[in-house]
Symmetry: C2
Subunit: 361 residues, 2 copies
């Protein structure tokens, strides 16, 4: 290796394991029969086997129950914000939402756009999105078709520890959480997530949908967003994002080799724990999120003196610590710690932060 | 190089230039600052510049007029089948279609699904999709919002030489034609196409839309399919398919280095001309398409004795000529000859066909 590998704290698209990149690199021109995986027909036996293997690995790693379909779609989680109402409701139906930040708000806007009576039954705007609803603090609407929530919000950096309780279906935007820890899929009607955080690269959204929920789509649902049609076609109603699906398979192989989701959960908790401890133990850095709502995936932090933000970022970049600038709505810094971020990367960040604070604090 | 590079005749995803694959391979782990292009934020300066360069190259190569927006979206051309009515019409509006095969039919089905009065003003079903409408043989519907057609159909292997005449907007599914030859974009309201034929890899659909057509989307349009919203956000309303956009840029660099679309048109005409001449000069092979409607991109051909199909395919594969099996609805063989297929690949196919026919004919 002649290059210095960055510790990349991007909120997504995000860092990938070097082993995954090297595997993809090694077979990029010659995956099967003198062809790249990018060049083969999605209906040919090689790619059909590749997609089936990725699905089988996902089912194994995430312990997906047999009565759930796994769909590999395009358009991101943002596309599913509209697809969910189109697939599960008729106009005028009632649904519940938690509002815990920007991603919740986008899903809520889509629900309204699709003609639903959209009740925000818990709204964390008052805390400036530094909290999540406490168990028992909200009242689901009787007759609501589903409760939608965002288990992890990448911008505010809040995460649910518990799964919400409701009589309705539970629908979760797992974009920045799926595959970061074990999850009891059977408690959900639908879980979906963009791959570009913990699962691979942009261009692929994974949708897990309980089979009995198929068959309800509105007639006007764009066909590529119609879960029923896509399930029937094994997600190949049209050309799927083949390279992104292949990368998901490589990522799942890497997760399995690293010990599966229990190991991921342990690693991810340790990384976040170390970084929060460093922040909390410092007078120079702070994190505004309520301790019981802190995200393991996205850690925003503020410097005591925001005039030093730029210098902090320039020095970090020079030290190979990239993409630490915070979201414009929050300011300061943000370190995203998805599956591929090694403990050593977090330690390098903590060391840099400590040195910087000692020099400037 | 220690591997034998295939001549891959897949209808898409399809062959890529080896130079493009090798460039992607060389920088797969270290594109910028120790990160892969797959790992960087779509909102970071490096990727924003990458997407802007791809757009600029596309505008240059295809001579896209300044009053057209270039959108990089997900969901394939199939997603646009629904997005077009959602962005351009209200339910009940009237639109015209040519039906020249399977892709036309899918677009027609979406038009009906979105509540439009959908007139098929020329239908080539009677010829079993071996013809295209002759100029002057069809009557556009007065008041129709647009005429939609498919300049090249990959399954039947038919292609328009002329641009249809209508007072309405012209909307073209250019999936298997865009970047294969020069095109007068100014004659169209909308041209769109999946990238996985002549432009790169799956996961990206390019939409060219005349600016004055923005602002008409139905309120219920899924936001990722809303051209107006995506144009305003430079196609980054949500995470775009970053690697597919990067590959489009590499492909455009390759096209420019090869002499642009005039050179592509010459190469593609020569390749198709040689293959059709070999078919027509043989008693053993035949192509059912009317001569003036033959596709330069997809050449279906039938063996005199279909019992030999399997043997033909096995021998071809052994000779490094892959993915020649015809579409199940047509049978026989199909050779797709997109930009990346070299003349030498077509000659190798012709040589193989000649030898096979001499042995079996």
């Amino acid at each position: 290796m002649t290059f210095m590998r960055a510790y990349n704290f991007s909120a997504g698209p995000a860092m990938l394991p070097l082993e995954v990149l090297e595997r993809a690199q090694s077979e990029l021109t010659d995956w099967r029969s003198g062809m790249s995986v990018m060049e083969v027909s999605h209906r040919g036996k090689d790619f059909v086997a590749c997609a089936a293997a990725a699905e089988a690995s996902l089912r194994e790693v995430l312990a997906v129950p047999d009565n759930y379909k796994v769909l590999f779609l395009q358009g991101g989680a943002s596309g599913q914000f509209d697809a969910i109402p189109l697939n599960l409701t008729a106009p005028g139906d009632t649904v519940d939402f938690f509002n815990t930040g920007q991603w919740s708000k986008k899903a809520i806007a889509a629900s309204t756009r699709q003609g639903l009576t959209t009740n925000v039954i818990a709204d964390e705007a008052a805390s400036r999105y530094t909290t999540v609803p406490a168990p028992g603090s909200y009242t689901p609407t009787p007759g609501a078709t589903y409760l939608h929530y965002t288990p992890n919000e990448t911008i505010g950096g809040v995460e649910f520890t518990d799964i919400p309780k409701t009589e309705a279906l539970l629908v979760a935007d797992g974009s920045s959480m799926l595959l970061s820890k074990p999850m009891d899929i059977s408690q959900f009607g639908v879980v979906y997530g963009g791959a570009q955080k913990n699962m691979g690269i942009a261009g692929l959204v994974v949708v897990l949908v309980r089979e009995d929920l198929l068959g309800r789509a509105r007639p006007s649902t764009p066909e590529v967003f119609n879960w029923t049609a896509q399930a029937k076609a094994d997600s190949m109603l049209n050309t799927p994002p083949t390279f992104s699906i292949y990368l998901l398979g490589l990522m799942l192989d890497w997760i399995k080799a690293a010990g599966g989701l229990t190991a991921m959960a342990g690693r991810n908790a340790a990384k976040a724990g170390a970084l929060y401890a460093a922040i909390d133990g410092s007078e120079f850095y702070s994190n505004p999120v309520a301790v019981d709502a802190r995200s393991r995936m996205n850690v925003p932090f503020i410097l005591a003196n925001p005039d030093l933000d730029k210098e902090f970022l320039v020095g970090a970049e020079a030290a190979g610590l990239t993409n630490l600038e915070g979201h414009r709505s929050v300011g300061g810094m943000r370190a995203s710690l998805y599956n591929a971020m090694p403990q050593a990367g977090v330690q390098a960040l903590i060391d840099y932060m400590t040195t910087f604070a000692a020099q400037k604090g």
